[in-house]
């Protein structure tokens, strides 16, 4: 390094190339900021409108005031939301369902990807292709047969000391979780990532007598922070946003997730202020979670030293 810096032409070259790197020049910042405005203004509008009475939302629509917290601001809409919808219960349900789906999804899909990437399993190329092939099935077209099918499935009910076999998964938490744990996309992402981790590492661990499961747990997974974070985010989002499925399989209000609540506001008189308040309530936790997660995401890239 020292010799390079002593060479004046090298310094000049370096700063010149930095200028060409996208984003370090002024053009890059202009682009970044322009994109930031484009990507955030509808949500800004949502949040700002949630503080305004209906009349004013429509009044402000034709000016920049639509994005500014001006005029008569209050939390009235938020109060009304909690009167209209058991929002707290819905939030708890969605958090529970999403978190359980994410954790089980990360474990089960990464194990499968590990086996496919590292171990000798007969026909694993075919298995991987078949798993990826399930990606082409859009959930909407499976929903109807799936309702019938989950109602046929048995479940072991454990209450106290008795183990009983019950039939039908409708109207439970598990029907909102179990069908979404295994995910071809997650398996694929983990597989891709595991392939980029040098196999010398587990080879070395094998020589030291580590079992396959230990290699998975102690070698590969700790190096896979970015993949875990990505899969976690990508599993969490559809779980949090699920709408069509709970509509069909969950009847009790106590078990409903947040998205069902949106429909409560389109009953009779639509108050857009309340709609905006409710959608803000159910969007902000996800945003907060993403911000929290992305730090872990960045840290794990930095700490694991994965450079390919």
């Amino acid at each position: 390094m020292a010799t390079v810096q002593l060479d004046p032409t090298a310094v000049a070259r370096k700063s010149a190339t930095r200028g060409l790197r996208p984003g370090t020049g002024i053009g890059g910042w202009v682009l970044r900021i322009a994109l930031a405005i484009v990507f955030s203004f509808p949500l800004l509008f949502m949040f700002v409108s949630s503080l305004k009475p209906d009349q004013q939302i429509f009044g402000d629509l034709s000016s920049i005031a639509a994005f500014l917290p001006v005029g008569h601001l209050s939390l009235d809409n938020y109060g009304a939301v909690f009167d209209r919808v058991p929002a707290a219960r819905f939030l708890v349900n969605s958090v529970g369902v999403s978190v359980v789906t994410v954790v089980l999804g990360v474990i089960i899909n990464s194990m499968a990807a590990f086996a496919l990437s590292r171990m000798r399993v007969r026909g694993k190329a075919v298995i991987l292709t078949l798993i990826i092939a399930t990606l082409i099935v859009p959930f909407e077209t499976l929903a109807l047969p799936l309702v019938w099918w989950v109602n046929q499935l048995p479940w072991l009910q454990f209450d106290g000391f008795n183990l009983t076999l019950t039939q039908g998964w409708l109207d439970t938490y598990r029907v909102q979780i179990v069908p979404f744990i295994a995910n071809a996309f997650s398996v694929y992402l983990f597989h891709q990532y595991f392939e980029s981790i040098p196999k010398e590492l587990d080879e070395a661990a094998r020589v030291d007598g580590a079992s396959w499961f230990t290699i998975y747990r102690k070698v590969v997974m700790p190096l896979s922070g970015p993949a875990v974070a990505t899969v976690a985010i990508l599993t969490f989002l559809p779980a949090w946003n699920s709408y069509l499925w709970p509509l069909m399989v969950v009847q009790s209000e106590e078990l409903r997730p947040v998205m069902i609540g949106v429909q409560y506001f389109f009953q009779l008189n639509v108050s857009w202020g309340q709609v905006m308040a409710y959608t803000s309530i159910i969007t902000l936790p996800v945003v907060a979670l993403f911000i929290a997660f992305q730090r872990a995401f960045v840290n794990s890239i930095a700490s694991s030293g994965v450079k390919g």
Binding site: R84, T172, Y173, G225, M248, Q263
Partner: protein, 432 residues
Amino acid sequence: MKTALKRVLAASVAAVAIGGSLAACGSGSGSGGSGDGANGTLTLWTHNAGNAAELAADQSLVDAFNASQSKVKIKVQAFPQDSYNNSVVSAAAAHKLPCLVDIDEPNVPNWAWSKYLQPLNLSADLSQNLPSTVGKWNGQTYSVGLYDVALAMFARKSDLQAAGVRVPTAEKPWTKDEFNSALASLKKLGKWDYPLDLGTAGTGEWLPYAYSPLLQSFGGDLINRTDYQTADGALNGDKAVAWAQWFRGLVTQGYMAQKSGQDSTKDFLNGKSAIVYTGSWAADQARKALGDDLVVLPVPNLGAGPKIGGGSWQWGVTTGCQNSQAAMDFLSFMLKPENVAKVASATGTIPATQAAAALMPDYAANGADSVFREFSKSYAVMRPETPAYPFIATEFGKTVQDILSGGDAKSALDKAVKNINDNIKSNNGYKS
């Protein structure tokens, strides 16, 4: 590296803990299956989650019934209206229907044909009910409602006077020509982009509910009602085509928006339209805002007499119910005049019986809302009493939207007729 693993472990422990506590809260609420009613608790499903007033009224009736006897308890489960039918259909497919269901009247024949509803056997006398509050199919009664709603047109008296337009009455509604020239005169005032708001942003059941009566007023219909086997001639005959062209004409002449705002009543009250097509439920709100300036107009007579849709949300008992008697008792209990009056007041709807109307000042003779009861009695046309109705409704809805968007009237209607006839045929004519 270790910390990453610890994080994952900590997260999974937390997840299991949350999952466990949720399961604890959730268990015990899994009743409401096809065996509903067996353990002394009957579940009742309603479409009004999010509609606090109606839900509270229903709940208070349930509470009163639960307190009036000790044999059974009724438990209310509320669903948002837009998805209510989907929830019921899924539950029916999985044999998980509750004892008591809320049902939109035109769907009664379909549900009865599918054997999800059982014929009612009530101690209450239904002969006093408005005919449109009783859901029938194949000569049997399957559902009964506590109320009906009536569509009408709201306007400001001052606007009509300014435009020099006659204020129509129930005895003498506007004719088609009068209606068209009224719109022309209002348009000329220049006060509104579109003087008429027929709620064209509506979706789902609103489309057939609001617009098939206009078609019927032209002399057309959704289906040939002699045997309900074909829509040919009724939905694509000359009269139907004339209706479609007139309807689209309202858009092309600038009388009405191809797609109205989300809340037509609110837009009207804010002065964005001169005439709004809405229902009795909005009367209270409009009267509060406009006072004496508000006039409630009958729908126009477009040729075959003024028509509005009859039949609203009603109650039925499912075939899988393990305690039908208790369910029937509950329905009879609900039909007591004071209970009917309570729900009708809460929802701003027309009470099903005269006895209940007498308890409601607005609906008593010469009350402010008695006009709606009159509209309902003299103009109401039931939607076709055939199990094909849910299919017809979706086809008609799409056809209306295509016509509003400028699609060719005749071919749009022909296509709907073909689809409806195909559907009827593939279901063996929906014979019982």
